[in-house]
């Protein structure tokens, strides 16, 4: 559950990151179209919010929210490190993380 | 001539910094303490809850005043506004002690 929370946060930050003009350019070589940028940002926020759900489910409301808040920092840190040293991996890993976490959770 | 002028400016600069710092440190704490004491009596909550709420809030008030001390456009304005703000809880406490 915690891994799922982490994966969703990671994904969410990846999406938000690509929604910033400068970083989109870093990864794809061009600035995003306005609609694409809006969608990336919306998706990012939705993913971040949804990450609270597995945390609350596993640990109860108050402690779950505390976990979610600290996982947010960790996930953001991971994305920033990735972006600084291997920007090309950001989209792939951001898309792949939640399904992988879900898979790990189900087995 | 130029040297005296700039050293005078430097002295004035240091004075304003000192004035703002004094306000932030003493005034900030004083304001927070006054509000803490005043709100503990004024808040419409059961007594222990009012004390808890007032004490917990006081640090935010201290922080706000410290930021104000340095952000105000002039030192005079900083001190004047801070004094006015402190007067409110001070007056309340004085009235309370006069009644009791």
């Amino acid at each position: 559950m915690i891994v799922l929370c982490l994966a969703l946060c990671f994904s969410g930050f990846g999406s938000l990151c690509l929604g910033v003009d400068r970083h989109h350019e870093q990864v794809y070589g061009h600035k995003p179209a306005p609609l694409r940028r809006q969608l990336l940002r919306l998706l990012g926020w939705l993913l971040l919010a949804s990450a609270a759900v597995p945390a609350i489910f596993a640990l109860g409301t108050s402690i779950g929210l505390a976990l979610w808040a600290s996982v947010l920092s960790l996930a953001a840190f991971a994305q920033i490190t990735l972006l600084s040293y291997r920007p090309n991996l950001v989209p792939a890993l951001s898309i792949g993380a939640p399904p992988l976490a879900l898979f790990l959770h189900l087995i | 001539m130029a040297r005296t002028h700039s050293s005078e400016n430097a002295f004035r600069y240091r004075l304003t910094i000192a004035a703002r710092t004094l306000l932030a440190v003493l005034g900030g704490y004083g304001f927070a303490a006054l509000c803490c004491a005043s709100l503990a009596l004024a808040l419409p909550l059961p007594k222990p809850q009012a004390v808890l709420a007032a004490t917990q809030l006081s640090f935010a008030l201290y922080c706000a005043l410290a930021i104000w001390a340095f952000s105000a456009k002039s030192v005079r304005r900083a001190w004047c506004v801070a004094t006015l703000l402190c007067a409110i809880p001070a007056a309340h406490l004085l009235m309370r002690s006069a009644n009791v």
């Binding site: 600290s70 920092s73 | 932030a24 222990p48 808890l52 640090f59 201290y62």
Partner: protein, 534 residues
């Protein structure tokens, strides 16, 4: 003086509140972050306990020892081994003794045999914890005031930092490595913003934990200074919480056979996901015996993260109703949530590691800020003939604290390993080693150029940290290979953390070694200008 714009004024305020107390705040943050694992560190620092393996019936062994040592005690306490501390500890209070946190008699038991074991005297992780808010070698109140004032300034630094940071959302993901001052600013911004809710929470909750000392004026005005009255009306420190403490019976009572505790323990184990933390028996071996089991961890921050307590009649084994938990009022709830988040007594290992990493980010935030202050002023310094005293002082304190404190901590751990177990005042000597090492690190930069000082201290720290797990190889039961293969994660985790710290410090050393000071063209220009002026 021309009035500064709002952002600029706050930038100035941020720089000065940050600089003046940055070194103290760094120490507070680093020791505080380590304190999240104080129990684990304490256990690691008692190698006598590492050889024993855990047993399912440790409670039974403990009770047998209590029966042997104190059959007529007023209260028995047993601290059961858990994921944070694999030690089994018993404590008892004789009739008439005041029952409190300290006091009573204690024994640590070997978990496999149940026999008392002689453990080396050490303050363990709690030295770091106490240092975090009470420093050392000064009256408690003085230290708490110093830490309290530093925390109040930290709050101002955080708020002014947020006000100053113009592009807080736009620059959220920005980190540009290897670009000198730009990189340091990015690093400072990233470490600050990433965990901003944590930094704000930990600072404000730190203030709340000290608030009755720092801001007693509410109690003064509402209760005319009668703190006892306030605390009893508020219901404990912050109000709320479950269960009343067990009272010791006063009149002599008839002895009675106690019920078998095994089914009670089994019931509790099933009920609580993290297991039983401790068990207490008041008036054992009498008709008034009451057994209280405490949950490990907690369910809700509103209740201060305290776990549930189950009480049973000691003779019949019947469950006793816990006093009805009243809903926590709002102001108390706020206090409980904030303080629980600071102390994280409720947290299991995964959440604890998360908070630890956030704490490290905060420590990095302070460190990068201090370094940034120096780096930012390098260009203007090149124009002067020498380094101003203030700048030199900041440089030396930076090295002595940012690199020096890790050296001191490693020295503390090494002292724990190397000092003879029977040494008089052993715990004090370990702490002396910590301070001697730190003092040397603060003086060392006096004798060295800035870059050399950094290099020597970070590489030394890396060696010290890395050496500890290797030293453990000398004791086969404690070595990393053994602990990992046996799944003894309490010890393995510590050794891995030491290795990771060593790796980080080694990486830092490598970066510093590679660092190019100033482009030679500028150096040449300066030399020409100096010669022309002469």
């Amino acid at each position: 003086m021309k009035p500064l714009a709002f952002r600029q004024a706050n930038a100035w305020l941020h720089t000065w509140t940050g600089l003046l107390l940055g070194w103290l705040l760094y120490a507070i943050f680093l020791t505080g972050t380590l304190s999240f694992f104080q129990e684990e560190i304490s256990y690691w620092m008692k190698p006598e306990l590492h050889t024993a393996g855990p047993r399912d019936d440790s409670a039974r062994l403990a009770l047998a020892q209590l029966e042997k040592h104190a059959p007529d005690a007023a209260q028995w306490n047993v601290s059961l081994p858990g994921p944070r501390n694999a030690a089994l500890q018993i404590q008892w209070f004789e009739p008439g003794e005041r029952i409190g946190k300290g006091g009573g008699q204690r024994l640590t038991l070997d978990t496999s045999s149940g026999e008392p074991v002689q453990v080396r005297e050490t303050r363990g992780g709690s030295f770091l914890y106490r240092f975090h808010f009470e420093l050392y070698a000064m009256p408690r109140e003085v230290a708490r005031w110093i830490v309290g004032i530093a925390t109040m300034l930290m709050l101002v630094a955080i708020v002014s930092g947020v006000i100053t940071h113009k592009k807080i959302f736009k620059d959220f993901f920005t980190f540009r490595p290897a670009k000198g001052q730009r990189s340091w600013l990015d690093a400072h911004n990233v470490t600050a913003v990433l965990a901003l809710p944590f930094h704000f929470m930990i600072t404000y909750s730190g203030l709340l934990l000290l608030m009755f000392m720092l801001m007693p004026w509410g109690v003064e005005s509402a209760y005319q200074g009668d703190r006892q009255a306030f605390f009893s009306e508020a219901g404990g420190r912050g109000g709320g919480g479950r269960g009343a403490p067990i009272d010791a019976p006063r009149q002599p009572v008839k002895p009675a056979q106690m019920t078998d505790l095994a089914p009670l323990l089994a019931h509790a184990q099933q009920r609580w996901p993290q297991g039983i933390a401790s068990l207490s028996i008041s008036a054992p071996n009498t008709e008034r015996a009451v057994v209280e089991l405490r949950q490990r961890g907690g369910d809700s921050l509103l209740e201060r993260g305290n776990g549930e307590r189950l009480r049973f009649n000691g003779v019949t084994g019947a469950a006793m109703n816990a006093p009805k938990a009243t809903p926590t009022p709002a102001a108390s709830a706020v206090y409980n949530v904030f303080t629980s988040l600071h102390l994280i007594r409720f947290a299991g290992p995964p959440l604890r590691w998360m908070f630890f990493l956030s704490g490290l980010l905060g420590t990095a935030m302070i460190a990068t800020g201090l370094v940034l202050w120096v780096v930012k002023r390098l260009p203007e310094r090149k124009k002067l003939s020498g380094t101003p005293f203030g700048h030199r002082l900041v440089e030396m304190l930076n090295v002595g604290c940012i690199a020096g404190l890790p050296v001191a901590i490693a020295a503390y751990f090494w002292a724990n390993r190397l000092l003879p177990a029977g040494l008089e005042q052993r715990a004090d000597w370990e702490i002396r080693c910590f301070f001697i090492a730190w003092a040397l690190c603060l003086l060392h930069p006096l004798l060295r150029s800035h870059k050399r000082a950094w290099l020597e201290q970070t590489s030394f720290a890396a060696l010290l940290f890395g050496g500890l797990p290797f030293f453990a190889l000398l004791q086969p039961s404690s070595s990393l290979i053994t602990t990992v293969s046996q799944g003894h994660w309490l010890l393995a985790g510590m050794d891995l953390a030491l290795l990771a710290s060593a790796a980080l410090l080694a990486l830092a050393t490598w970066h510093i070694a590679r660092h190019q000071a100033m482009p030679s063209k500028l150096r040449l220009t300066r030399k020409v200008t100096q010669e022309a002026a002469a």
